[in-house]
Symmetry: C2
Subunit: 208 residues, 2 copies
DNA sequence: TTCATCCTTAAATCCAAATTCAGAAAAATT
DNA sequence: AATTTTTCTGAATTTGGATTTAAGGATGAA
């Protein structure tokens, strides 16, 4: 029996992370109707090994999606690290919410989930929670900027925040569907156009 | 052999419409991984009968989706029938683009498609075309209103039109996922809020 | 009546996926 | 090194439809 929570549990959580990541990639590739074998293949294991850790595939899939959303959200927060100017923060947040390209696995997973959410309550609940968290994130950002006098909001922050998240979501789908004239850059500019209207701030595109 | 294109072809196209509708409902319920049997069940037929008309299920599904999108689009145009005031037209268009509720089968089908589009080129192409048609619809509406001096556009009409369609799409997903505080009315008001900013028009909600 | 169309029934075929488990392999413990 | 525990494989087993096919019944038009 383990006496410490040291190496053993560290290995356990590492294995767990492996399985979650494999499940995420498998779902990104095959959708919510992903098979046990397909998860096993992505994990470099056999189906029996997956079952050893997760007797019920559905549990693994739900955990994988929760982890995927958590990562998506915390990555966005991390992108704001060290940036204090509200305008700059807004621009970075908008940029980090869009998929980098058609091959963005993180967003591909979210799209697959969104398609199933209308039929699957669990996925609907997860996505709703993610949406609300992102709205709260934007709302804080907008309120802070307004308080500092940087933004002059054209509507209440909840309305603007919801619309910003909604725009991100929708353009995420379009980018993943390889819209010929809507790539990451164009979509970001479209959202920024709304953000400028809503905040009465020129929101300069960061020059790097 | 048929000598006229009369009754016989009328029956053919009626049968075809039946199959397409059955496929639409089956896909709305089971997603893009819908089974032949499930389509047959919705059609009140056996799988053999479906195969008699459509030897390849994929062909039927693609046709069904094309028909579904066509209907969605033409329904929106029809809702504008007889309305001449640009502001009123804009309000009606926004309203007609959102699902009536979680049980809206038309939108449920589109959501299922959107989730698969990141993995299925055919569905991606269809949805991209629908998006662009809707953008064009809004663009015409906006340009007309601007020309008449009713709207004072805060950005080029393409930008506004894209953002309006994007907002509709995103809130459609949220409504279908039963977001507890985002129903048809709230979503419409959120989009209208953007539309007011973008057109510099108060856009009164129609009172009925 | 004849013919073509449409559809069902039922069997044949097929196969993919989940499940199970004995025991190998690896890792930890002593 | 020996023992124990954990992890995983390999292969058989089971399961459960799902597609496919074809013979023929039903229907309505000619």
């Amino acid at each position: 029996m383990a006496k410490s929570t040291g190496r053993e549990s560290r290995q356990k959580s590492a294995k767990r992370a492996d399985l979650l990541e494999a499940a995420q990639r498998a779902m990104a590739e095959h959708g919510t109707a992903v098979r046990l074998n397909q998860v096993a293949e992505h994990a470099g294991l056999t189906s029996g090994a997956i079952l050893y850790h997760y007797p019920d595939l559905q549990d693994l899939l739900v955990d994988a999606n929760r982890a995927g959303m958590e990562r998506f959200y915390t990555d966005r927060l991390a992108a704001l690290e060290g940036i204090t100017d509200p305008a700059e923060r807004l621009v970075v947040t908008i940029t980090s919410g869009l998929p980098t390209g058609q091959d963005d696995e993180e967003v591909r997973l979210l799209c697959a989930l969104g398609g199933a959410a209308a039929r699957n309550t669990m996925y609907a609940v997860l996505l709703t929670a993610l949406f609300d968290r992102q709205v709260a994130m934007y709302q804080t950002l907008l309120d802070t900027g307004a308080f500092q006098g940087v933004f002059n909001l054209a509507a209440d922050s909840l309305t603007i925040a919801r619309n910003l998240v909604a725009l991100e979501d929708a353009y995420g789908y379009r980018i993943m569907a390889s819209h010929p004239t809507l790539d990451h850059g164009v979509a970001a500019e479209l959202i920024l156009d709304y953000a400028r209207l809503a905040t009465n701030h020129p929101l300069p595109v960061e020059n790097r």
